[in-house]
């Protein structure tokens, strides 16, 4: 009796374990970015305008949080004082750094070629520099490791293919690109859990990241009516409608609340 019960118990247990992991994740298929449905008349460069603006932060600026790098002496040795998290950087006058701004909708159905020059993402002092970058679809990102310690570079996309590769100290840069539009892709290092960066991947060159003073400029914008989106890792997204006339420099400011 006992043996039969034990056998039955184990059989059901094995089936339950199998059921625990039964749900299948959708396979992440990576296909080339869809080409524009139809070509539209391209605006001449002479007519191109720009969108400039400033990102502001309303409310009391949160105190930057200290990062503890004690688990990796090769990292902590590079900082005389505890480094701060770059999640929220509020500048003088209440400006907000590291906001990715891009034209979300309204562009003519045109295919813009990816720039041949790579955008550099450096692992320096055990921090990803810069914290936020924007690239075009298929534009290369040159990932460097300037640190005297191992890192692993691990993007966490939802549309593109996920990968995870180690990078030895001072080794040759990795050149990577993403073939599909995706705003945003977090990049982390699992060796150093505080290391996090974000990449905005769009299929046009009309994007920018706000700087120390919260300002941004998107150049070469063809005349038209656009939806411009501003993305921040903690405070989410905001949209604004912008109409750019030929050769016009249009302003678009955004304000995030804490």
């Amino acid at each position: 009796m006992f043996k039969k019960s034990l056998i039955a118990l184990m059989t059901v247990a094995i089936l339950l374990v199998a059921a625990c992991g039964g749900a299948k994740e959708e396979a992440k298929k990576e296909a080339p970015a869809a080409a524009p449905a139809a070509s539209a008349p391209a605006a001449s460069d002479a007519d191109a305008g720009s969108i400039t603006g400033k990102i502001s932060f309303a409310g009391a600026a949160p105190a930057p949080k200290n990062i503890s790098m004690d688990a990796t002496p090769a990292c902590s040795r590079q900082h005389s004082t505890p480094p701060k998290s770059e999640e929220v950087i509020v500048g003088a006058g209440g400006t907000l750094k590291n906001v990715f701004v891009y034209i979300k909708a309204g562009l003519p159905a045109k295919e813009w070629p990816a720039p041949s020059e790579a955008v550099v993402l450096d692992q320096n002092s055990c921090i990803y520099k810069p914290h936020v970058i924007g690239v075009m679809v298929n534009q290369e990102i040159e990932i460097r490791n300037s640190d005297p310690t191992n890192h692993n570079v691990h993007p966490l996309p939802k549309v593109n293919r996920e990968w995870n590769e180690s990078q030895a100290p001072k080794s040759d840069p990795k050149r990577k690109s993403f073939p599909r539009e995706e705003v945003m892709i977090a990049i982390k290092c699992n060796v150093h859990p505080w290391m996090r960066s974000y990449v905005g991947v769009v299929n046009h060159p009309f994007h920018a990241v706000s700087g120390d003073d919260g300002s941004f400029t998107i150049k070469g914008v063809p005349p038209g009516e656009y939806t411009v989106e501003a993305w921040h890792e903690k405070f989410g997204v905001q949209e604004s409608k912008v109409t750019v006339a030929p050769k016009e420099s249009k302003s678009a400011d955004f304000s995030f609340k804490g």
Binding site: G21, V191, P193
Partner: protein
């Protein structure tokens, strides 16, 4: 001697569960991108998340070796055929567990694989505890059979309790690996705690003088009690430190304790179940010499 060795393997397995929980809590699951070697080496530089991930692999290798020893020992020294095969099955389980661990690295933490890895870890630990029980002197002295005719049936409760606990552990693993929200795990905790308390109290009321079952019931109740509070502490510390740029030690501490005591809860429910299935007879099978007859 075999019994002591089985206890050692069970203790090392619990340490392995702790090591695994440290990997997840410190977000170090993919800090070593290759498998079975680590950065192409047997021993990489143990820095940052690599300390947790490679440390977990080292403890897992040790437990694998110990399990081989246990299976061989049981095979050649144990008279009970079913126990010999349980040793072989546990060896198979530890191999499957290692492969699942490797798959989590190679396929970048696919949720079904990660959750299966967590569930099998709990079952493997319970199996080690069960083998320690089966090889103990108290077990070899034989059952003290009692008859149970009340409702709810103790044998039914005994069959239900470990599966309820395992399902709850699976929900917890799903939360940790972000396959599910917290709500099912919280609801599950209420259900499982109710089941465990009901089953344990029924034992204490109906068979208070049966030492083996009483100990199993009290052990299960106490461990479950702590587990509920550890779950609340793990959640509160996670919420409190959610804005931190990295996993904070207080959150890691309570989360790892919650996982470890979860494994103890699973093992306690299995022991509880085994003791009831062994000692409690249905009314028609009341044997001569039972405790009730003796009383």
């Amino acid at each position: 001697m075999l019994h002591r060795y089985a206890i050692l393997v069970a203790a090392c397995t619990l340490f392995l569960v702790v090591a695994g929980a440290l990997v997840t809590s410190n977000e170090a699951g993919l800090s070593v991108p290759d498998w079975p070697l680590s950065y192409g080496k047997v021993m990489p530089e143990m820095t940052g998340g690599i300390f947790y991930e490679h440390g977990h692999r080292m403890v897992a290798t040790t437990v694998g070796m110990l399990t081989i020893g246990l299976a061989v020992w049981l095979w050649f020294r144990e008279d009970r055929r079913w126990l010999r095969w349980l040793g072989v099955a546990s060896l198979g389980a530890v191999i499957v567990q290692g492969v699942l661990g490797g798959m989590t690295v190679i396929f970048l933490l696919p949720k079904p694989v990660s959750i299966s890895h967590a569930c099998l870890a709990q079952l493997f630990f319970s199996t080690m505890v069960a083998i320690a029980l089966f090889t103990s002197d108290s077990w070899k002295r034989g059952a003290i059979a009692v008859v149970d005719s009340g409702w709810p049936s103790l044998r039914t409760l005994a069959l239900f309790a470990p599966f309820a606990v395992l399902a709850q552990l699976a929900l917890g693993a799903a939360v940790r690996h972000r396959a599910l929200g917290l709500a099912p795990h919280v609801v599950g905790s209420m259900v499982v705690t109710s089941v465990v308390m009901l089953a344990s109290i029924v034992i204490l009321i109906r068979h208070p003088l049966h030492r083996a079952m009483r100990q199993a019931a009290v052990g299960l109740m106490v461990i479950t009690f702590f587990q509920v509070f550890l779950g609340i502490a793990a959640y509160m510390t996670r919420v409190d430190t959610s804005g931190s740029p990295q996993p904070m030690p207080v959150m890691v501490l309570f989360t790892v304790m919650h996982v470890a005591v979860g494994a103890l809860t699973m093992a306690a429910s299995v022991v509880f179940s085994i003791q009831i299935l062994r000692n409690v007879r249905p009314p028609l099978e009341e044997p001569a010499g039972s405790l009730r007859a003796a009383l």
